[in-house]
């Protein structure tokens, strides 16, 4: 029954979510989520809180029953399989370690449930604890470990059962920034070394961009775009993705062919459009100064002058807001240590390429 009506590339797809839906009394938490994930991939579910990413993950794990749709892993329909028979490892935001068991017993739990012989359990527990670099702390209680160590125990506990899929529910959001960076690298490294298919739920775009093979951006229960980090950043499919991933300037206007009229400006854009649109451009793709950016075709460059109204020195970069006609455009320059900060009140020239603009139909 798993095969009927599944997408064509099933032989390639390790995990298939088909029109997965979760309805609560009067709201749709997840609406028709369809995607395929290949074996060994690390895919992020990215979105703001309440977008349905955690609900989707919980449906995958079987902790939340799906209202409709199917979950298929390796051709096997798991939609109605109880969570304890799904063979998925999960790492929780709160770590969810068993407080009454020490590290070794926590890690051994899944193997004991699988009735693995005792000798093999001992050996696999030692390996898993070594993998997350906690050797020597086997007898500690979770309460005696730091947050990062607890999260590594949770990872070992989920890995030791050799699950078909590893699920991460915002695993790093309770850690401080430096530890978060370390754990990011460590999780990615272990995931790649073991070649384990993983889904990583996060609201942090940096986490998604730096760790994952592909990213599923979700918004209001819907999948906005599934693509590589580069796809998402360079070719966002929707205005939401463009504004959620990376910083953007956002101007409303009316398009006629390859030109958009917006707030007293006429902008050359990428491609041709008609009607009410939203134009976006990345602040750091805008060049400040007389020289401006050059293009083989002069028409493909937008050039304008404006007045600096605010400047922020942020270390690596300098961010400025420039008033151009009726609009305010944010500009970001990398700090090369040579130039002075654009002075507030100064008149400056901005330029950016037509191909660096993103144009979307305005929301009705």
């Amino acid at each position: 029954m798993a095969r009927a009506g599944t997408a064509p590339s099933q032989d390639k797809a390790f995990l298939v979510l088909h029109r997965l839906r979760k309805a609560y009394d009067d709201t749709l938490a997840v609406d028709d989520l369809t995607l395929e994930i290949a074996k060994g991939e690390l895919v992020a579910f990215l979105g703001p809180s309440g977008c349905g990413k955690t609900t989707s993950l919980r449906m995958l794990a079987g902790l939340t029953p799906a209202s409709a749709g199917r979950i298929v892993v390796e051709g096997r329909d798991l939609t109605h399989v109880p969570p304890y028979q799904r063979d998925m490892g999960m790492v929780f935001q709160s770590y969810a370690l068993f407080p009454h068991m020490n590290v070794a017993r926590n890690v051994a739990f899944g193997l004991e449930m699988r009735k693995v012989p005792r000798g093999e359990i001992a050996q696999r527990v030692v390996e898993a604890i070594a993998l997350v670099r906690l050797t020597g702390r086997e007898q500690r209680r979770p309460s005696e470990l730091s947050g990062g160590q607890q999260q590594r125990v949770a990872l070992a506990r989920a890995l030791v059962i050799r699950p078909s899929i590893l699920l991460f529910d915002e695993p790093l959001s309770n850690l401080d920034a430096k530890l978060r960076d370390e754990m990011r690298t460590e999780i990615r490294e272990i995931q790649q070394r073991l070649g384990i298919t993983s889904i990583f739920v996060t609201h942090d775009q940096v986490e998604a961009l730096t760790m994952c093979d592909r990213i599923a951006v979700m918004h209001q229960g819907r999948l906005e775009q599934l693509g590589t980090p580069e796809d998402l950043y360079e070719r966002p499919a929707t205005a939401f993705v463009a504004s959620f991933v990376g910083r953007t300037n956002r101007l409303k206007g009316i398009a006629r062919g390859d030109t958009v009229e917006t707030g007293g400006l006429s902008l050359r854009t990428c491609g041709t459009h008609q009607g009410d649109v939203v134009v976006m451009m990345r602040p750091h793709r805008i060049v400040l100064g007389e020289a401006g950016c050059v293009s083989a075709d002069g028409r493909a460059v937008n050039r304008m002058t404006g007045c600096v109204i605010r400047t922020v020195y942020a270390g690596d970069v300098v961010q400025s807001d420039v008033r151009v006609a009726d609009s305010i455009i944010a500009v970001e320059q990398s700090n090369r240590g040579s130039g002075e900060l654009p002075a507030v009140g100064a008149t400056v020239t901005l330029s950016f390429l037509a191909r660096d603009t993103l144009v979307y139909p305005a929301a009705p």
């Binding site: 902790l63 304890y84 799904r86 969810a96 899944g110 449930m113």
Partner: protein, 264 residues
């Protein structure tokens, strides 16, 4: 809270409160070692004979065993009924959970004399008066509210994520309950058991109405004893009861942590 040492004023106040609360209990201890034939303080001579005399009172001894059996049975039944009830109310969020909570806790709010009278009228017809099951049923009415309350609090405080983690690791619902939920609930269960045992063990009002010549509980027998006799035997008995209560409280404290179990 632990960072701040209490001020001297607070210490003195606490000490005064302790004396106020415990002084009557402490007076019983010297009284129990009285050599006099009547209760009088301070005693004119000392003796341990009243402790020995307890065993010579068959009614008291019989009532003691009845009370002990009754309290133990009440405790077991409270856990057997209270645990599923609390789980259903907190976790399964069954329809009418709020109503059930009120129903279970209502006996706490009624004056026990009114409750006792009502139970007496019903039980008299059923022929339950003076029988073990009658007194047991009565005790359950007053102990179950405590059981459901304490257990519900205990279940509500459990980290659901731990149970979910166990589930994803391959534990069936039964295995999750046995390996995760139950061990984590142990402090709550210990507290419930102790509370139900102690409430049943020194219940007087209901028992006065429900016991009869065939069956009596220790507090009822003690009540009757002081009505007719004035010797220090009752003080010796009181000291034994205080010791038993203290032992149970200490046991809970050692196994589960008193502050953790009661002060939630």
């Amino acid at each position: 809270m632990n960072d701040h040492a209490p001020s001297t004023g607070l210490k003195i106040l606490a000490a005064a409160m302790f004396v106020f609360l415990l002084a009557p209990v402490l007076v019983v201890v010297p009284l129990s070692f009285s050599g006099d034939a009547f209760l009088s303080f301070p005693p004119s001579s000392w003796s341990t004979r009243w402790y020995g005399r307890i065993l010579a009172e068959p009614k008291i001894v019989a009532a003691f065993w009845t009370s002990l059996t009754l309290a133990a049975t009440t405790m077991v039944l409270c856990l057997a009924i209270g645990l599923p009830a609390a789980y259903a109310i907190v976790r399964l969020r069954i329809p009418g959970a709020a109503f059930l909570t009120s129903l279970f806790t209502a006996p706490l709010l009624l004056p026990s004399i009114v409750l006792a009278l009502a139970i007496l009228i019903v039980f008299a017809r059923l022929g339950f008066i003076g029988s073990f099951r009658g007194v047991l049923a009565g005790h359950l009415v007053v102990t179950l509210p405590y059981a459901v309350r304490v257990l519900a609090t205990s279940i509500a405080g459990l980290p659901i994520a731990c149970e979910e983690a166990a589930t994803t690791l391959g534990a069936s619902p039964l295995a999750v309950f046995r390996r995760i939920t139950l061990p984590l609930m142990l402090p709550g269960i210990a507290a419930t058991a102790a509370l139900c045992f102690l409430v049943s063990f020194d219940e007087v009002v209901l028992s006065l109405f429900l016991t009869g010549p065939r069956l009596s509980t220790l507090p009822v027998e003690m009540f009757h004893y002081v009505e007719t006799r004035t010797d220090p035997l009752i003080a010796a008995l009181s000291v034994i009861l205080v010791v038993i209560t203290l032992a149970i409280v200490l046991l809970v404290d050692r196994t589960a942590g008193l502050a953790r179990t009661f002060a939630r």
